[in-house]
Every structure is written in structure tokens, then in C-alpha cells.
């Protein structure tokens, strides 16, 4: 080694820094691998498409769940309580109670439905008009429909429900949250299912990329042998295949993003129409920047992992004969 250094001192050669050389080498290999893929556009595109669809599927379902959650979440806070008052409560007292409850900070509005009006509505809507006329007196209580204000959390809603239930005039407080809770439970199951499905699809991507890289390695077997014969390390011959996997993953991730965004674009019209019908302000929640980055990141990771896994195994096996 000392001899070489001496020789260099006599005839200095301008050398780039090792890091710059390393970087330049990697860039060269990266561009070379990309060029190889571009030269076979059809087969490359097929693989990229398979990866993209596999990535887009769980991403899209996840987006659906996310939207369902945010819509049902807004219902959650706008749940009305129905307070059925005790029979002996007079109409004046009931109306006064309504005004009292309305002044609470966690209540947005209270509408008072008197027993008389409730009976009239019921007669009209149920079709039991004649039968109800025969009743000696009105069996229905006065009802207060309480709409909590939007700032409530689920904990403060439970508290509000308790407090309203403890009022002396209250017979019974009815909150229709059960179906919302069931709906959330279903969404949770769907989320779990997506996680499991996504893991399986991830394995599928690793297998697809691994198989593609394996064929690539078989095709370039002679080249690998010759290169090893000249003194290339396993890392050196593996490098182009790792880059191939990286490009597949990156392209697959980007195309998956494109597919999801295109799907959102297609849904925009119908959703706007639906929102118009309900006179509601429904907009589809799109992917956050983190989610978009995660799709690309997962694509790249799976691409690298698939190619590394395959290349590491095969490179050791291919030795010069």
C-alpha cells in the first residue's frame, strides 16, 4: 500500500472524493436501470400497473372509510336528545324548562313539543285517528327535543344526557346513538380488514417484483458471471437490480396515486349532486399529504425489499464456472 501512495505522491492524480465517486456510481447505475426499463416499455408498464392497482385498492377503500367516518362523526355531534317529561308536568312548566335548558352553553336549541301537538301529529301521521279519538285523555307526555351545541365531545354529551335525566320533571331521556356506535364498530372492522388485506397485497407486490427481478437475473446470468469473474462483489452485481426494484416501486406508487385521484375526480360530480339533494355541505375528503407520501413510500419500500430479497439469494448462487 505504501508503494502505491508513494507513486501517487510522485505523479499526483486528481481524485474526486470517495463520497462523490460513490454517488456518481449510484446515479450511473440508477439511470442505467431506468434506461433498461424504458427500453422494454410494455412489460415494464404491465408490472408497474399491477403494483399500482395493488397499492391503489387498499388506499381507495381506506379513503371511503375515512369519508364515512367524517360524515358519521358530524352526525355524532348533532344528535338530538328527546326528553319525555313526567305526565303531571304542566304545559307552562314544560315551556319554562325548555327555556331554562336552552340557556346552557352545551345546548344549541330546544324545541318544545306539547302533548296536544304530539297527539295531533301522531293522529295525522299514524292513521289511527278514529281510535285515538276514543281515548279518555292524552297518553302522550310533553317532549323537549334538545340539540346539543357542536362543540360537545362524546364525554360531555354523556354528561349532558345524565344531567337532563336527573331533572325532577324528566321521565326518560332517549338518545339515538346506538346505531351510530354500531356503524362505527362496522367501520372499525372494515379498517381492520383493510389492514389485513393491505398486508396480503404487500406480500403479493414483493412476490411480483421478486419474480420479475428473478427473470431479469436469469436473462443477465452471463453478464453477472463475467462481471464476478473480473472481481465484482455481490453488492456490485446486485446494485442494478435493487435500482430496478426501486423504479418499479416508485412508478407503481405514483401511478397508484394517480388512480386514486382519478377515482376522486370521477366521484366529485355524483357527490355534489347528492349534496345538492340533501342541501348539505358534503365534500369528499381527499388524501392528506402524509397519506399520499405513504403510498409512494410503501411502493418504494416493497420494490426495494422484493428486489433485495431476490437478488441477495440469486447473486450468491451465480458463480463463475
Amino acid at each position: 500500500m505504501a508503494v502505491t501512495r508513494n507513486a501517487d505522491a510522485v505523479a499526483p492524480v486528481r481524485r474526486s472524493s470517495p463520497l462523490a465517486i460513490w454517488f456518481a456510481r449510484h446515479m450511473g447505475v440508477a439511470i442505467g436501470s431506468l434506461g433498461r426499463l424504458v427500453r422494454h416499455p410494455l412489460s415494464s408498464l404491465m408490472i408497474v400497473l399491477v403494483i399500482a392497482v395493488t397499492l391503489a385498492l387498499p388506499a381507495a377503500v381506506n379513503l371511503v372509510v375515512k369519508n364515512a367516518r367524517s360524515i358519521s362523526g358530524s352526525w355524532d355531534n348533532a344528535l338530538d336528545f328527546s326528553i319525555f317529561l313526567k305526565q303531571e308536568t304542566g304545559e307552562e312548566a314544560a315551556a319554562g324548562l325548555a327555556r331554562l335548558i336552552e340557556q346552557r352553553a352545551d345546548v344549541e336549541s330546544v324545541s318544545f313539543i306539547s302533548a296536544t301537538r304530539a297527539l295531533a301529529d301522531f293522529k295525522e301521521l299514524s292513521g289511527f285517528g278514529a281510535a285515538l279519538d276514543r281515548l279518555p285523555d292524552n297518553p302522550l307526555p310533553h317532549t323537549l327535543v334538545v340539540r346539543p351545541s357542536a362543540g360537545n365531545t362524546s364525554a360531555s354529551l354523556i354528561l349532558l344526557q345524565e344531567e337532563l335525566g336527573n331533572l325532577p320533571e324528566t321521565e326518560y331521556v332517549q338518545v339515538d346513538t346506538e346505531w351510530v356506535q354500531r356503524f362505527h364498530a362496522i367501520l372499525d372492522i372494515v379498517r381492520q380488514a383493510i389492514a389485513i388485506g393491505a398486508a396480503l397485497l404487500g406480500i403479493a407486490i414483493v412476490v411480483i417484483i421478486g419474480n420479475t427481478i428473478r427473470l431479469d437475473i436469469e436473462n443477465r446470468r452471463d453478464e453477472i458471471e463475467v462481471t464476478k469473474l473480473i472481481g465484482a462483489s455481490n453488492a456490485f452485481v446486485r446494485r442494478p437490480f435493487l435500482w430496478t426494484g426501486f423504479w418499479y416501486g416508485l412508478a407503481g406508487g405514483l401511478l397508484a396515486l394517480g388512480l386514486v385521484y382519478y377515482g376522486l375526480f370521477l366521484l366529485q360530480g355524483p357527490v355534489a349532486r347528492l349534496a345538492g339533494l340533501y342541501q348539505a355541505n358534503i365534500a369528499i375528503a381527499s388524501m392528506s399529504l402524509e397519506e399520499a407520501a405513504a403510498i409512494i413510500g410503501v411502493g418504494v419500500f416493497l420494490g426495494l425489499f422484493g428486489s433485495w430479497f431476490t437478488a441477495a439469494r440469486h447473486m450468491r448462487r451465480i458463480e463463475p464456472r
Binding site: 481524485r15 465517486i21 456510481r25 453478464e223 473480473i230 472481481g231 465484482a232 462483489s233
Partner: protein, 227 residues
């Protein structure tokens, strides 16, 4: 430079390619290995290149005992040796320049320096004007010269060649040998397997004759360089 001590190579079938072979090649020597096919010439070179390991005995190259070179260190070991093959072993998907540059790319030599060295190597084999051509457009002799340029581009101290003139006519063979001779004159040690005894005798180099994996006693007059 090369020292074999009682080397035996037995293949899984039980067949012995080399049996207790001992030989030495000094630094700066140009030595030919001759013998019929199956005599063990190729096996000898493969042991030196660490493509195979001996069943018994030691192979010492430039002071390194090859049996102590770990699997992971084999690539670095091979980079110290230039190798020329009968079938050239060029990569046909890239031009001559890239083929010759391959050892430098593997060694991580910078772009500019590599370019300079590749041109110097191509100049030495007289193919500087063909650097952009693809190997398949070249004649067999030219392809072999590209192979030689690749073997010497990183200036190894030792060059081994397995039947480098096996596919060439006498005139081209002589030219390849002249190129080898020039390297030898600047201090490169060469070990060349060949069966072209007439050609070897014209060059007047030492000859190691193998027969059934052993040294064959060469009659004294046959190694006379003046003949």
C-alpha cells in the same frame, strides 16, 4: 509470484484434475502451461483465479495463500489479477469502451481517470479507433484483443490466460503473443495455458508441461530458447 505446493484437485465424481502438483513462477516471468485437454491446464488457472479451491495443498499468489482468502474477499483478490479467456467473455450489449472500463467501474475509479486508462489499454492492443463499436462487429482476433485490454486496464502484476489463441489463426496468434510479450517486458508476470507448442517455442519462454495432472518431464532440447 505463483507457488503451488503439492496441490491436488479432486472433483466430486472422484476424478483427479491435479495430483500433487508443485511448481513456481517467479515475478516478471512469462511461462506457458501446455498439455492435452484434460491434463489440468484450466484447473490450474482456475485455482489461481479462485474459481476453484484445491482439495489438498496450497496455492500462493503474490504472497497470499489462496486457501486463507475468505469467500467475501474473493472479488478483491480477483481484481489484482488480469484474466484472459479463450471465448473472450465480453459483454455484447455494450461497446468496446465499456467492456474495457468494466474492471475500473468495479474498482470505483473516477470517470476521467477511467477514460484515460481505458484509452491507454486500447492503444496498447491497437484498438483505440474501435472504442465505440460493439464487440460482435469485431473479428475474433480483435475481440480477443479487447479481452486483453480489459485484463490489463487496471495494471495487474499478474496476468493469466486460458488458451488465448485457441480460436485464432497462426498470424493472429503470433500478434496476441507479441502483445503479451510487451507486457512481460514492462514487468507483468504471465501464465498462459496453450497447446500451440510451435508458437511457444518460437517465443522461447519457459514451458510447464502437464500430463494427467502431474508435471511431465520435458526433454531438455525442447526448452532450448535458441531452437
Amino acid at each position: 509470484m505463483i507457488h503451488l505446493e503439492n496441490v491436488t484437485k479432486r472433483f466430486p465424481g472422484g476424478q483427479e484434475a491435479l495430483s500433487g502438483l508443485s511448481l513456481s513462477v517467479d515475478k516478471g516471468e512469462m511461462v506457458f502451461v501446455t498439455g492435452h485437454s484434460g491434463a489440468g491446464k484450466s484447473t490450474l488457472l482456475r485455482l489461481i483465479a479462485l474459481i476453484e479451491r484445491p482439495t489438498n495443498g496450497h496455492v500462493v499468489v503474490d504472497g497470499q495463500n489462496t486457501s486463507r482468502v475468505k469467500r467475501r474477499r474473493i472479488p478483491a483478490y480477483r481484481r489484482q489479477i488480469g484474466m484472459v479467456f479463450q471465448d473472450h467473455k465480453l459483454l455484447y450489449d455494450r461497446p468496446v469502451f465499456d467492456n474495457v472500463a468494466l474492471p475500473l467501474v468495479i474498482a470505483g475509479v473516477g470517470h476521467r481517470e477511467a477514460g484515460r486508462k481505458v484509452r491507454a489499454a486500447l492503444d496498447q492492443v491497437g484498438l483505440l479507433h474501435k472504442e465505440k463499436q460493439r464487440p460482435e462487429t469485431l473479428s475474433a482476433g480483435e475481440q480477443q484483443r479487447v479481452g486483453i485490454a480489459r485484463a490489463i486496464v487496471s495494471r495487474p502484476k499478474l496476468l493469466i490466460a486460458d488458451e488465448p489463441t485457441g480460436n485464432l489463426d497462426p498470424e493472429l496468434s503470433l500478434e496476441v503473443m507479441r502483445i503479451f510479450r510487451r507486457f512481460n517486458e514492462v514487468g507483468v508476470t504471465l501464465l498462459i495455458a496453450s497447446h500451440d507448442i510451435a508458437l511457444i517455442d518460437r517465443l522461447g519462454c519457459r514451458r510447464i508441461a502437464l500430463e494427467d495432472g502431474r508435471l511431465q518431464q520435458v526433454p531438455e532440447e525442447e526448452v532450448d530458447p535458441w531452437l
